[in-house]
């Protein structure tokens, strides 16, 4: 068979697949409509990026000028908003139980008196750990405020003792730190979550569609027709069948990156070409896994359950929320069987960190290795497609 003939065959299978796509509502929707809806969903829900104005309660037992000033300062930071002023702790805890506040700031009696009397004063916060993302942001802001408030008081005391402003500053904070937050300077939530969720949607739909495309041939017993069109070549039949899904998913990934980098504003510091290639490799890797699953189970719905479950798991193992290095060793090993984990490493390196391409090469090779799964099951797939016993399975 010459190359031209092969291409001709692939095109024949492709056009057959296209008519299947057009004639099935499910197929079209999963291929185009649902992925775009999901992208828009993430674009909207993550558009705000940094959570701001999270309600907290203040229990100010001191009611003094200084305590009010501290409350004002806390209120003016981006994350917490002092929405409730309560009179006792039970009331505050009640608000927390009702889900209205994330934290309680308590300023005990004698706050101003102690500060003016050169005695240590107390400030306590009670921060709900039920939502650690809100907790982290609120406690960071409150801590910053209390620290700068405290430094301000020190400066005043020291200046009263006759030091100049600069001397007082050097005395109050002998070691200053210069903060450099690399790559995600705004600690933007969208930057963490969007790059993880949106490719995951691509992955999910690629897996489902690939299993559906092959599985429906088995279910309705049209597999021989499909193979016959490819002149019995399993490889060409597969290529023609999956090409459209790969193509459309790649186009969708362009839309996805447009939303990610332009709308949400995720930094793009590295090589976008490498990133795009690895996205296509990611789609292909998951398609290979899908072919593997359907060929082994030869039962569309079981394959869909297994493939769907597997693609959802990838999120947990991606390491973007809970780092892989913190997991137990067996779980670290398990994280390698998800192409998505490797892709996320490439994404972080190429888009957010902008390191040189050489750091991503081994991850790209891992992604390529997943494609080999198809080679293992080609024989099995041919058997499944030609043997009547495997068809019509529910």
């Amino acid at each position: 068979m010459t190359l031209v003939e092969k291409i001709g065959i692939v095109f024949k299978v492709l056009s057959r697949e296209n008519s299947r796509i057009v004639h099935s509502v499910r197929y079209t929707c999963c291929l185009v409509v649902l992925p775009i809806i999901s992208f828009l969903f993430f674009a909207v829900i993550l558009s705000k990026g940094v959570p701001s104005d999270l309600p907290i309660a203040v229990l100010d037992e001191d009611h003094s000028g200084l305590s009010m000033k501290l409350v004002d300062m806390i209120d003016s930071t981006p994350t917490p908003e002092c929405r409730y002023f309560v009179y006792d702790m039970n009331e505050a805890i009640d608000l927390m139980h009702k889900g209205k506040i994330y934290a309680i700031v308590q300023i005990p009696l004698g706050f101003q008196k102690n500060i003016l009397g050169n005695k240590p004063a107390h400030v306590e916060t009670y921060n709900s750990g039920a939502n650690i993302s809100a907790n982290g942001l609120i406690s960071k802001d409150i801590q910053t405020v209390v620290t700068s408030f405290s430094v301000g008081i020190q400066l005043q005391i020291l200046q009263k003792q006759g030091l100049t402003a600069a001397q007082a500053m050097a005395q109050a904070m002998p070691v200053r730190f210069v903060k450099h937050v690399l790559f995600n300077p705004y600690i933007n939530y969208g930057y963490y979550l969007a790059p993880c969720f949106m490719p995951l949607m691509l992955v999910m739909f690629s897996v489902i569609l690939t299993i559906f495309a092959i599985g429906s041939e088995l279910k309705y017993g049209t597999a021989p027709e499909w193979l016959a069109l490819a002149k019995g070549s399993c490889r060409l039949a597969l290529a023609g069948k999956l090409l459209m899904i790969t193509l459309i998913m790649s186009i969708l990934s362009v839309i996805m990156y447009f939303i990610l980098f332009v709308n949400i504003g995720v930094p793009m510091n590295g090589n976008i070409f490498v990133l795009f290639i690895s996205t296509i490799l990611l789609i292909l890797a998951y398609q290979a896994i899908a072919v593997f699953v359907i060929a082994l189970t030869c039962n569309m719905r079981l394959a869909l359950s297994v493939g769907g479950g597997y693609s959802v798991l990838a999120f947990t193992f991606s390491g973007l929320t809970f780092p892989i290095m913190a997991m137990d060793f067996p779980m670290q090993v398990m994280s390698c069987i998800f192409p998505f984990t490797h892709f996320m490493k490439i994404f972080v390196d190429q888009a957010i960190r902008g390191v040189s391409v050489s750091h991503s090469i081994d991850e790209i090779i891992y992604l390529l290795l997943f494609q080999l799964l198809v080679v293992f099951v080609l024989g099995r797939l041919r058997k499944v497609c030609t043997d009547k016993r495997y068809w019509g399975k529910i």
Binding site: C29, L34, V44, I45, K48, P51, P55, D94, M96, H97, G99, N118, K119, P120, A121, E124, T125, Y126, N127, S128, G129, A130, N131, I132, S133, G136, S139, T147, S150, I153, Q154, I157, A170, P174, V175, F177, V178, K179, H180, V181, L182, F183, N184, Y192, L200, M204, N299, R301, L302, L304, S305, G309, T316, L320, T321, F322, P323, V348, R353, S356
Partner: protein
């Protein structure tokens, strides 16, 4: 009254037969079993194992110490001692540190300048630079908090020493260096464990997700294999919708009761998730949640005509539904209109309510708004389940009628063809026998079937 009892008996037999068939379709189908029964257990176990370490400790950082003095070495040691950071490398310059950083060997860099000790000794301010990797959220938080806390502590220590050199006594010096003692208490999740934070909402969400998909699968199967028609009891035209919905709901409630019992009885203890809530309060949240999920599932299942449809349509909503419930992102971040749309899902009420009860130890009174909204959803989805099931069964019934109609139509057509054939035959004979043709032409197709009798007579006549 008798009629009522009769109906009740009929309904009871229908419920039984629906339940029997429901169980049969579930347990004869590994794909459904995987999702309906095992998914909750498998996912809970895998996720819990992944998040078992709960917190990230000993993140590798590098210290670039250009000062090489006693105080800088002390500071480096302090970074190492901090709970979350571990000084794994002491590169000579920033270039090397950056290379290690790019190779993911370290996740933070602290740069101590050349004149560090000099500045401190001479009573001036010395600057330490901190480079934190914010591309991984948890990593950033751990490294940054620890490094900053260590630097602040070191600074306070230097200040204390200076003051004491000046002859200030210890308590006074302490009051100057630390005018405000700040204490932060973390409630409900003291070590800010990641598993403790995400697992309760995830486990609850899996219930909704698997219920919607699995019920849709079974519903699709029933439609695909016409089970709704084949289990119609004798002497009835179609199933009634109430027993079908009831039978299905009871089956799923029983199955989920078992798996949920595992989650809360065994799994919670195995992985030590917080159980601050009263058991009765938790159950009060979970019952309406489970019911509304099941009724919603039954409603949606009537739409699917094929068994694989539900998974294809619904798989992707798992992550959006956990985001929109406000349990991972604070709900203040979500645009209001989107949050309102999200309220159609039972999880949007149940997840926050459950976390407040179980993790935060809130009482039932605190979650009354959510629980009442959940009960409203139970009734709404119960009603939609009944209505959509009724439409579905009616349509099935209608197609049955249609089939009968079609059969009669086919029969009529055959009769018609027969008649025409006979007519032609007759006409041929007539031609040969040269009888008047007027009689023949009057036999039009429309009326011919009604003239079957007459036709026969004519035929008989002609034979005579």
């Amino acid at each position: 009254m008798n009629k009522f009892i009769e109906y009740f008996k009929l309904y009871a037999t229908e419920v039984k037969s629906v339940m029997r068939n429901e169980y049969r379709s579930i347990f004869s189908d590994p794909g459904v079993m995987l999702i309906l029964i095992f998914a909750l257990i498998i996912y809970s176990v895998i996720y819990s194992l992944v998040y078992r370490p709960e917190v990230l400790t000993d993140v590798n950082i590098a210290v670039v110490d250009e000062s090489h003095t006693h105080s800088s070495v002390q500071l480096t040691r302090a970074f190492d001692w901090a709970p979350n950071t571990h000084v794994s490398a002491r590169p000579l310059d920033m270039e090397e540190a950056k290379r290690m950083f790019d190779a993911h060997e370290i996740y933070g860099i602290v740069h101590i300048p050349k004149d560090f000790e000099e500045q401190i000794m001479s009573g001036r301010q010395s600057a330490v630079s901190v480079y934190c990797d914010a591309s991984y959220f948890l990593m950033y938080r751990q490294v940054f908090q620890d490094v900053v806390a260590t630097i602040m502590k070191a600074g306070a220590f230097v200040e204390l020493q200076r003051l004491m050199q000046k002859g200030v006594n210890l308590p006074q010096a302490k009051a100057v260096t630390q005018p405000i003692i700040y204490q932060s208490h973390t409630l409900f999740n003291p070590y800010l464990g990641y598993g403790t934070y995400v697992m309760p909402p995830i486990m609850l969400l899996i219930i909704q997700q698997t219920a919607l998909i699995a019920i849709g699968m079974i519903g699709g199967t029933w439609r695909e294999y016409n089970l709704y028609r084949s289990i119609i009891p004798k002497g009835r035209d179609r199933l009634s919708s109430i027993p079908v919905v009831a039978g299905k709901a009871i089956t799923y409630v029983l199955i989920y009761a078992t798996t949920i019992a595992y989650i809360f009885g065994v799994h919670y203890r195995l992985f030590n998730y917080p159980t601050n809530g009263n058991v009765a309060d938790c159950v009060a949240v979970i019952i309406p949640y489970l019911l509304s999920c099941i009724f919603m599932g039954i409603t949606i299942s009537t739409i699917f005509s094929k068994r694989e449809s539900s998974l294809m349509w619904l798989l992707w909503i798992s992550i959006p539904s956990i985001l929109i419930s406000g349990c991972s992102l604070p709900k203040e971040t979500i645009p209001h209109w989107l949050y309102t749309i999200g309220q159609v899902l039972p999880s949007s009420d149940a997840l926050p309510a459950y976390i407040r009860v179980q993790t935060m130890g809130a009482s039932f009174n605190d979650v009354v708004p959510e629980v009442s909204r959940l009960w409203i959803k139970v009734f709404i989805y119960g009603a939609t389940a009944l209505i959509s099931m009724d439409i579905l069964l009616h349509r099935n019934f209608a197609t049955k009628l249609e089939k009968r109609l079609l059969q009669t139509r086919i029969k009529l057509k055959k009769d018609l063809e027969n008649i025409i054939r006979r007519r032609n035959k007759y006409a041929a004979r007539v031609e040969t026998t040269e009888e008047p043709k007027r009689e023949v032409r009057r036999l039009t197709i429309d009326k011919s079937i009604f003239r079957r009798h007459k036709d026969k007579q004519i035929e008989n006549n002609s034979e005579k």
